[in-house]
Symmetry: C2
Subunit: 458 residues, 2 copies
């Protein structure tokens, strides 16, 4: 087995400088004004795939943001590994809560701070540098490679599913490799074996046809902001459970083996509480924090807007009120069924005198892995080599809806090896990547691109 | 009795042009960036008091926005009338809902549209033109006049109370005249005999120390936006009554005579519904719409803000959530007691895992008039002369907290003669003043400035 340590150590300053360049591109996919940055991000990825040793690259147009495709064929009979990642990022707002500007990467205390540092530019970059490390040293990558790096992950991968199904022959593969997840603790490499799905909606409650004087009309008019509060409160009971009929019917019970896995993890509720900074943790009655995060569905308000929100007071009776509400789903909930039941429940909870409209944004199904597949052995070995300890099998509360699409399209298993640390502020101000994990992750992936071929050839 | 009709008709084009000039000044008192406009508003009022025939005027500094004082003494033994009004206006946002820009006065269909057209610049201007009409024609104003036009009414008259008490001798008066209220119907002049008080608060709910990824943390953290919704929903029961302990204890029951007065008014619930544009009216169970507006307290959300509110989706678990909440009060509720009980109830409703902070903005006590006082007779006669029909005694759901302060400071009754028509959009986009009411109002006030002297001497 090759040892990539010394070459990675030698090249690391350049790797970091390149990553900073990537992070300076404000490729926010939900913001129409950032279309230019999205395009810059795609071009950057394409250029750097070639630098890493991927001979064929292409920036492919979609109805939304482009997909960057890279290909390296070694042998028609060799197994094929497809790497998936994304170059788009979450919005950075509120920008004033960042210590340094979100698109000016800054190193502090062994961490690199920037929007996208860990989700997912940093992790995509680790793969490119792992491949470059092997290939520039003349060490074989014994699998055919397909790299699919998209620009719409943070807005629900709107055009990726169609792209995959339209290119299912060209992209046919034996395993799908994804690094967009995290580690349970700084020195514990992890493989993620389950993801939650998501349904994301916007509730708009309309009352009077324009804003009214709260004195002249208050008391005789149904206030849409009060009505929205009643609807949102009515969606959960006092035990923290959603009141949507049938919501829990298809939720799998936690097995004894899963409970045993959970108990082996170095879980410290007090550290989780300190990480989030709340006075105490909470959630659905009858479950532990990890069970709530990994095995139970949620119903969270992601945003609220109504009436006067400036400094001071304005005695207005608002004409409308809006809430963004999302639900994280677990096996075997189905997004389409959940959103139907949710809409019916919201309308049932709305009082007379207001009109309710519900918009649906992206949705995605939950996913669980078959951990008996040999690629999990390959990943375990590679991670143990770089990190000095075997990985833990964990789940992730977040959603990568496309994982299920990959498995369905290619009839191939997905392997999720991720490097985000707890508290890394993905989707929040001051997102960061641990630079020591970045270093060790590149080494682990450099090993993985060899070992996975052996296991797939089996 | 003099007839001012012909001179008003002659001068009306000039009066309107002057009013438009006044309305072009964006004197929004809650906005620190409008300090210059506030000063311009004060200067404008002072200049136009002198033009109207008030010999002594002064722009008096306060810790906030200036107060404009005008004085016209006729005789130390004559009764004194104090006119109160305000030159500040509500914020204009959302500006995109205005048909024409809020500070570019526009006439359409017999109405003058602009922020402040009716609340209160238009009504202050009617008084100045009524005085000018009498004095320029050489018709006596047989009372000493004190004009107090302030710039902080829309932010709770923060400095007026202290100004009045510090100048109680200089401003000593036998009656307080205020035009900041409305008419029940276009051809029905009205005297307002009761006002609701107000308590205005801001609830801030704090959860995690920064915004979190809703997937990575959703389910194990108490979401402050969900918590805020629960608090707001819990503040009212299913009958539309506030759940604040003791809230209704000191609310006066509606008397038989008051119910009889209500029944005489040309009230059409369907017209009210159409005016507000809701699908149906609502409110506290067991009361009619006018009872809810005039005789019952409220609890309304005036604004909501939390998390992501832009277009599209962002899977954020917000770190805080804010609601502006106000209560309209009726006799004999006391603002200080209500706000204490409200804060206790909010904290009781807050779930564990969040921290709640409540800010108090302006508050004001409810008020009722003694309609047996002779000034009510003077006003009735003046209004009947100009409008051709005797006025109705009505109440107003809004608050002019300073009315009670005036009565307390000077031991003098307040007379509220107002000219806003139903649906005039005070505090909302497309605020308007009826130009025919403006014309007849000036005439009525020109008569009133004579008649009130006779009654007070009587």
């Amino acid at each position: 087995m090759s040892d990539f340590s010394s070459s990675i150590d030698r090249d690391l300053p350049r790797f970091r400088a390149e990553l900073c360049e990537f992070l300076r591109i404000p490729s926010i996919s939900t913001d129409p004004e950032r279309a230019g940055a999205i395009r810059d991000g795609a071009t950057w990825v394409s250029d750097h795939m070639r630098q890493a040793g991927i001979p064929e690259t292409e920036v492919i147009e979609t109805e939304g943001h482009p997909i960057v495709l890279g290909e390296r064929m070694v042998d028609d009979d060799a197994p094929t590994v497809l790497l998936y990642g994304h170059y788009d990022v979450q919005p950075s707002e509120p920008d004033d809560l960042w210590t340094a500007p979100p698109f000016e990467p800054t190193e502090r205390d062994g961490r690199l701070y920037a929007r996208g540092a860990v989700d997912d530019k940093g992790q995509v970059h680790m793969h490119l540098k792992a491949l470059e490390t092997r290939l520039s040293a003349g060490v074989d990558v014994p699998v055919n490679l397909k790299l699919v790096i998209e620009g719409e992950e943070e807005i629900g991968s709107r055009n990726l599913g169609q792209f995959l199904s339209e290119n299912s022959e060209r992209l046919a593969c034996d395993a799908v490799l994804i690094s967009d997840t995290g580690m349970f603790a700084p020195d514990l490499p992890c493989i993620t074996t389950g993801l939650r799905g998501i349904v994301y909606t916007e509730i708009n409650v309309y009352g009077p046809s324009s804003d009214l004087h709260s004195g002249s009309f208050g008391g005789a008019v149904v206030n849409p902001a009060n009505a929205l509060a009643s609807i949102l409160a009515g969606l959960k009971d006092e035990d923290g459970r959603a009141t949507i009929p049938g919501y829990y019917d298809s939720v799998r019970a936690i097995t004894d083996r899963e409970r045993a896995d959970l108990e082996r993890l170095p879980m410290d509720e007090e550290i989780l509480r300190q990480t989030v900074g709340s006075s105490e943790l909470g959630g659905e009655k009858g479950f532990s924090p990890l069970e709530r995060l990994w095995y139970r569905p949620t119903l969270d308000v992601n945003g609220l807007l109504s009436g006067f929100t400036g400094e001071g007071s304005k005695t207005v009776l608002p004409s409308k009120a809006m809430a963004k509400v999302s639900m994280r789903l677990v096996p075997d909930q189905q997004a389409s069924q959940v959103v139907e039941a949710f809409e019916a429940r919201v309308k049932e909870l709305a009082p007379p005198g207001v009109r309710v409209e519900i918009r649906r944004f992206h949705g995605g199904e939950p996913w669980v892995a078959d951990t008996e597949h040999p690629i999990f052995e390959a990943a375990s070995e590679a991670l143990e080599t770089a990190f000095g300890t075997p990985p833990a099998f964990i789940r992730e509360g977040g959603s990568i809806p496309i994982v299920q699409s990959f498995e369905d399209t290619f009839a191939a298993p997905a392997l999720l090896v991720g490097f985000a640390l707890p508290g890394c502020n993905a989707h929040a101000p001051d997102e960061w990547l641990d630079l020591s994990v970045y270093r060790r992750g590149i080494e682990a992936l450099a090993h993985l691109y060899g070992g996975i071929g052996d296991k797939l050839k089996g």
